[in-house]
Amino acid sequence: MGKIMDINLEKSSFPEKKITGALKVGVIGAGKMGLLHSGIFNNLNGSVLSAISEKKKIISEVIKQCVSGIEVYQNYQEMLENERLDIVVITTPVFLHKKMIEDALNHNAHVFVEKPLAINGQECRSLLSKSYKNKTMVGYCRRFMDTYKTAKKLIEEKELGSINDFTAHIFVAQVFRQGKGWFYDPEKSGGGVLMDLGSHAIDMIHYLFGGIKQVRASGRSIYSKEVEDYVSVDLLMNSGVIGSLEVSWSVKDYRLPELYIEIHLDYGKIITTEKYIKFFLEKDTPSLKKGETCYYKQHLTKDVPINLAGPEYTLEDLHFLNCINNNQKPLCDLHEAAKTNFVIDKIYSSIKTNATEEINYEI
């Protein structure tokens, strides 16, 4: 831990970093998300980055040169063998997740894995068939965005009444010709836009509205040869609420992904995205005024010790640390995240069969 000890952390108002007893973190995959979690865990009280494993030689060499005080590997199994890691963060292509999760858990580490959990429901069921005492968490980061959290609170408080229906879309301007890389290879990604962006939307639907009973879907490849670029889904929730979802990575004008959810309730509606939450009330309630209220994320922001690409990533890593330290269940563990894979499987089935599919959450 030389690089951290080189700096006198006790001076001035710099947050005090407790090295003794800090949980040792190893990251598998040094792409955008791997570096992001490396930087965050390296700056949180209670954790320290110890090792990175990156298969691509060119990247692992750069990391070796740049980041001092950590061990760098090209083989993650070597990293698991040599380092006594408390937390393993997995940020590799989806088809590698299952084996890596199992290997990390078998090395007695707590596991954080980026979304989606696995390539399909079958892999998830296999993962969940064994029980592990260690904590697990899947990186559905929108659960840590304050706009969606506020929407959940409003729904739970029932001041706008019960939900009748909802519409949602998740769009980004990303694919306008055949892309290269594992994202566009269904063997490695498990699918196209539905696995990538759509998984965020389905997780958020679970978070806000509970279990899904049935889906009926259609999908289309526009620019990609092997994966879908557009999916439309009608949903029936276990609660009886009906909803619809559109997913596409080929919609112009959306520089950043937008997950838009519009919820119609007995006495008004709620609209939420990453950037704002608006709600419209037809009448005054004990704590809310009639009319339109809007909160931007800038109003709802919470302090985070370090902000690398948005506070939600720091908040999810902090949540995971707290769950480990206080022996609590993480908000989105393997069981919770597997639900999204089960629903995605049925959406793909529905696209193929052109029929309504029943969701089966059983392990």
Partner: protein, 279 residues
Amino acid sequence: MGHNQFLGTSHISDERGIEREKKFSNVKNIYRVVEKAADLGCKGMIIETHPRMLEFLRYYKENETFEIDFYLQIPCLNVYIQKMNEQALSGLILEIIKRGGIKTVSSSLMKNFINYLKKDYISIAVSFLQFELKPFRDVNIKSIFLQNVFTDLLLSLQIYPALEEYLTFVDEEMGIKPGFITLNFELFKKSFEELGIKPPTVMTPVNPGGYDMSPSRSAVEKALKEYKGEIIAMNILGGGAFSLYSSYQYLKSFDNIKRCVVGASSDEHLKELIKLFRQ
């Protein structure tokens, strides 16, 4: 003047972003707003290597009915993310090598590139920087700012040699004033103090809501007041979430902040902004 609005970005609403995207896809509309801003006394403008900004610069050079300094933000992340999507990492690396002046890329060259990289990643970073700056040779670049994603990642992983090399290269080799953008100002200040380097110019969020002021508004306020380098305030209106007057009052409480970046997409907005700041 900030530039995000010209690229179809709104920090508070995607609908507003889409409207701006439509308006500013014609660079004449960007030119008109910047010209008005310059007339009203705005001294500089942020730019990056986004294709639309390059088109705007070409249009500016052809017309040049006003003078303005440019503050270049590097690298343009959106461009590289899009390239990664289209070409994967290996394709992106090949393109960077080719753009560095080498026309054909053989497998042996790729191997040499890896060996070279092993020896000296800083040199590669410098070549990359030179490539990023190519389109701006003919315009008045006042300062270069390293994007917050890079600054903050380098700080979080304590990759200090890269910070120092960047400062030296931009200052001594290019003769341009280097700067950084950060969302973690307290960590930034502390890191440069530990390094014993003269505090560099920094662009960082300063707003009454404490938005993007990590680790907390109070900690950043304290660090800002103690900072000996030049500070350019950004995100002062939180993309429109905070009122102009409260933001202005808040900014005024810092004696050592003399400059700020603010976005405007219409004449009315510009007039209102500049009138208040001139008081």
